[in-house]
């Protein structure tokens, strides 16, 4: 677009002022009007001051390597809720596929993510994972990016996490780092979670709705806390599990569910 000389200097000045403003604003990456993703659980939303900021970096660590699946489920459920119609990119190292398996299409529907919105990338090294995360964050068609890093992955230092959170903030994409062990290096993530497995409620017909133990260990916007969350399959969201809750009633719009549940052979070992 050709502009006249004095217009060009004005545009240049405006651009410069914008740059200065951005530089001043940067220390608090989560501004006033960041979109928030509420959990729908009052205790959790209160700790997060409204909800999870959607254009920031969050770190989700599994308590131990075997707990990677529940942690991945938590991360994918968050990504699914935020993604709506856009795509989710999942990046893992080659080693992850061998050790913990790959996300399975038919199982993604269980956490609310449509497999056709899912793009998975397998990167040879951990720094390729970080590079791919940054590239994917810049794409406008991507709503959430999940990068899986294994124990001993070098490069998850303040610099890398800061770059990722800047890219997330600039493009309004949700960035999640999924780790197989909790690290304690300083990080620029807005929240840090530790996810462990949690036994489900007693269900005479088999395994109940899945539960995870979520510990919020670092939070810039509020308090920390630990909760047991249960995934509500019909409403496709997390609810707070209370110990001793009786079996959830079958959903009214799925009458055949109760028939299916009753026909399963179940066993329970005390």
């Amino acid at each position: 677009m050709a502009a006249l000389p004095h217009q060009e200097t004005r545009l240049a000045t405006i651009a410069q002022l914008r740059q200065t403003l951005r530089a001043i604003e940067k220390p608090s990456l989560v501004g006033k009007d960041t979109p928030l993703l509420p959990f729908g659980i009052p205790e959790l939303d209160e700790a997060l001051a409204g909800g999870l900021p959607c254009d920031a970096l969050h770190e989700i660590a599994a308590l131990h390597e075997a707990a990677l699946a529940p942690a991945a489920g938590f991360a994918l459920a968050l990504a699914a809720r935020h993604a709506a119609r856009k795509s989710v990119v999942f990046i893992a190292e080659d080693l992850s596929a061998a050790e913990s398996g790959l996300p399975y299409g038919p199982g993604l529907d269980e956490v609310g993510l449509a497999p056709e919105r899912f793009i998975s990338v397998s990167a040879p090294k951990s720094r390729d994972v970080l590079w791919t995360m940054e590239e994917a964050l810049r794409c406008s068609a991507v709503a959430a990016v999940i990068g899986e890093l294994r124990a001993g992955a070098r490069g998850i230092d303040t610099v890398a996490t800061r770059r990722l959170s800047l890219a997330a903030a600039e493009h309004g994409t949700l960035a999640l780092i999924l780790r197989t062990d909790p690290g304690d290096e300083p990080s620029a993530a807005a929240t840090r979670w530790m996810i462990g497995p949690a036994p489900t409620a007693f269900d005479p017909y088999g395994v109940g709705p899945p539960r995870i133990a979520a510990h919020l260990t670092r939070n810039r916007r509020g308090n920390l806390g630990s909760w047991i969350l249960e995934w509500h399959r019909v409403e496709q969201r997390f609810i707070l599990a209370e110990i001793g809750q009786p079996l959830a009633a079958t959903a009214p719009d799925r009458p055949h569910h109760s028939a299916r549940v009753a026909s399963r052979v179940a066993s329970r070992v005390a």
Binding site: A66, L76, P106, P115, I119, S120, W131, A141, P197, T200
Partner: protein
């Protein structure tokens, strides 16, 4: 006897590689280059000679370059492959004008017709030593005596029959190239040239309403080596900026393999595969996002490799490992229909929940104790950790491909939860009544 002679053992493989490299270099003259083993190269220069100032200038340039590289070369051009071959090896004429093949090759020995040695010996015994001896002979007795091949070679040399040339690389539909008087070596310069050539290709592609799906960048080094880099895209592209970014990722991925040496003196960008792509309106938000996603997939594929960026495809199979598979994202087309079909099937058949992560290969588990032989296990050991099961669902019987000898036995799948709250998808391979020893157990996936 002769201590000064340097004796080097013959290495035909290395010779073949060298010849292939030389043929690659000859691509700068024409895209139709074929190797004439063991020591010849064929170039089809129809339509290319004028770019170099005529056939004789092209030939002189070729011979001079080969001499500069240290090879002794003879070159000749004619209207047919046979006549050119004969002239290059057996005569001194550099160019045979069209329709003059007869006179030009008449005095050459019969070996100039690429006949096998036995045939030449047989013909020599009856006094046929030069081509003019057989030019006017009756054809049928000649063929009967020495084989039809003699006549075929003769006809091809004289132009009565067409001889095809099978080039090393297919001819690209769109090509743009840029020679450099001052060779370039820096990556930024190469990328700038790519963008400029892509701009030229864009006008060509727009005229036909097509876009590029596979683009090749060929860089000719001053010392004769040729480097070729290809990039693929998931949908037809025309934008020079996108093409430049693609090659920037490719060059970054290849790193040191593209060694410029003393510089590149010719850069050629060719579209190897083109697909129809009508002009699109910009500004519709949906298609913008799709285009952006396609660009991201192309960039990641260019940098990491096409098979590392995948999408999930639903397949109509009851075997769990085949029901959801991955496919390179650049190749996958519409996948929503597959998944809608899967969801319909899942609701109709009331499929039990599938795990979030599936292991590539089911891992064997041991120390399995089940209360009932056909029931779910009450504990198992996996990767040296013992898991005590407190709840289980199942069995879900998935039969193997019983029509296939190599099909796996029927599997009874169980969704189990252990004491700590981890949930697994296990199966028992085979039924107790079918196997002599207890059937083995495997772990196939993990639930969230």
């Amino acid at each position: 006897m002769y201590p000064d002679i340097a004796a080097i053992p013959e290495d035909p493989a290395a010779d073949a590689r060298l010849l292939a490299a030389m043929a690659d270099w000859c691509q700068r003259y024409t895209p139709l280059v074929a190797i004439d083993a063991p020591d010849g190269i064929l170039l089809d220069i129809s339509g290319c000679a004028h770019l170099f100032g005529g056939e004789d200038r092209l030939r002189d340039d070729l011979v001079a370059s080969m001499t500069r590289f240290g090879f002794a070369a003879q070159a000749a051009s004619a209207a047919t492959i046979g006549a050119a071959w004969a002239a290059a090896r057996f005569s001194d004429t550099p160019i045979i004008a069209p329709q003059r093949e007869r006179t030009a090759i008449a005095d050459l020995p019969l070996a100039a017709l690429r006949l096998p040695a036995a045939t030449i010996a047989a013909m020599g015994r009856v006094g046929l030593k030069q081509i003019h001896h057989i030019l006017d002979m009756p054809r049928a007795p000649l063929a009967a005596r020495f084989g039809a091949d003699v006549l075929r070679r003769l006809d091809r040399a004289l132009g009565h029959e067409d001889e095809p040339l099978s080039p090393l690389l297919p001819v690209a539909p769109y090509v743009a190239e840029q020679p450099f008087a001052d060779p370039i070596a820096r990556e930024e310069d190469v990328l700038a040239v790519v963008e400029r050539l892509a701009g030229r290709l864009k006008t060509m592609l727009e005229r036909r309403g097509e876009g590029a799906r596979r683009i090749a960048l060929t860089l000719f080094r001053t010392d004769g080596a040729v480097k070729r880099v290809t990039a693929e895209t998931s949908r037809p592209v025309r934008d020079p900026h996108d093409i430049r970014k693609l090659f920037s990722e490719r060059l970054a991925a290849l790193g040191d393999e593209i060694d410029p040496g003393f510089g590149f003196d010719l850069a050629r960008l060719s579209v190897e595969i083109a697909e129809g792509r009508p002009d699109q309106q910009i500004g519709l938000s949906g298609s913008e996002d799709e285009a952006d996603l396609a660009r991201l997939i192309d960039r990641l594929s260019a940098r990491l490799g096409r098979n590392r960026v995948t999408r999930l495809i639903a397949q109509d199979s009851h075997a769990p490992e085949l029901a959801g598979v991955t496919m390179p994202a650049q190749r996958a087309g519409r996948i929503e229909d597959g998944w809608n079909g899967f969801r319909r099937f899942r609701d109709d058949a009331d499929l039990p929940a599938r795990p979030l992560r599936l292991l590539a290969r089911p891992e064997p588990i041991d120390h399995v104790i089940a209360m009932v032989p056909d029931g779910p296990p009450s504990r198992f050991r996996w990767r040296r950790a013992l898991h005590e099961i407190v709840a289980a669902e199942g069995p879900e019987r998935i039969a193997g491909a019983w029509w296939n000898e190599n099909g796996w036995p029927a599997r009874d799948y169980f969704r189990v939860e252990d004491k700590t709250g981890l949930r697994f998808w296990l199966f028992r391979a085979g039924l107790h009544r079918d196997l002599a020893e207890p059937p083995p157990w495997f772990l196939h996936g993990m639930y969230a």
